[in-house]
């Protein structure tokens, strides 16, 4: 995976889950996230799950170590991030855009 030098490494993973599920499923999701991160020798310090603006959830995972942006994007993909978003983020990383990962807020009505 080619790493871009312009983008600083990150400790925060932002994952957009586009489906609303039972709370018990979210607990399993937390466990799964821990296992996936452990496979790569990482640990989650905080996993925050909040409802997103339309449907589903926004998940923020704080890691114990800094990881390169490309690797973080791959972790987001493994942790079920929206696939279109992952592709866009990859394209942004490849041109060296430091704010490649975005979470949009609900619009005020």
């Amino acid at each position: 995976m080619a790493e871009n030098r312009l983008i600083p490494p990150t400790r925060l993973l932002k994952i957009d889950l586009d489906i609303t599920v039972d709370n018990s499923w979210l607990e399993h999701y937390r466990c799964l996230a821990g296992l996936i991160l452990a496979f790569f020798g990482l640990q989650a310090t905080v996993i925050r799950i909040v409802p997103s603006r339309n449907r589903g959830y926004h998940v923020s995972i704080y890691l114990d170590k800094f990881v390169p942006a490309g690797f973080a994007n791959m972790l987001q993909w493994l942790l079920l991030d929206d696939h279109g978003r992952v592709d866009f983020d990859r394209a942004r990383i490849n041109v060296g855009f430091p704010e490649w990962c975005k979470f949009f807020e609900a619009r005020a009505r």
């Binding site: 592709d87 866009f88 394209a91 041109v95 704010e99 807020e105 619009r107």
Partner: protein
């Protein structure tokens, strides 16, 4: 005299005007960073490909309350849409016929508490190559957001 007292005294000296009246330092609220993304699709007939243009706008503005945040967002949206269309028309000769989507990120407190009159704009163009999005950098620049207050003179 403690350090704090000395600092306060210095501040007093600085804010005292010529006629001896003390100016009250005005606290307008925290400076926050506003981030907005403007995007739109364009179908290029010549290469038979969809293109997506994205503008990432960032500006530091004072916002004390939620109403302030809402007001700045509305203004940023208005200015940013116009700037987005204008820039594409002027520099790439692209006339957008679709709606410009605007999305805001959560505001963050700025590290340097200095308000900005110009927003920084970063631009990307996305195109599909082999079923994947590939980004291309477009020249970045700035967008005027507020008129700077002059210290002297009316204008």
């Amino acid at each position: 005299m403690s350090k704090l007292q000395r600092k306060r005294e210095q501040e007093l000296i600085q804010v005292t005007t010529k006629n001896g009246r003390r100016k009250r330092p005005r606290h307008r609220g925290p400076v926050r960073i506003f981030r907005a993304t403007f995007s739109s699709f364009f179908y290029n007939e010549r290469i038979h490909q969809p293109l997506e243009f994205e503008n990432y706008v960032k500006i530091a503005r004072v916002a004390r309350s939620e109403a302030d945040i809402r007001r700045i967002r509305v203004r940023l949206e208005e200015k940013g849409r116009r700037h987005f269309r204008y820039w594409l028309r002027k520099h790439l000769n692209v006339h957008l016929d679709r709606r410009v989507q605007v999305n805001f990120e959560k505001e963050q407190r700025a590290e340097r508490q200095i308000e900005q009159a110009y927003a920084s704009v970063r631009r990307l163009m996305m195109r599909r190559i082999d079923r994947r999005w590939v980004a291309e950098n477009l020249p970045s620049g700035k967008m005027s957001f507020a008129k700077k207050r002059r210290k002297h003179g009316r204008k």
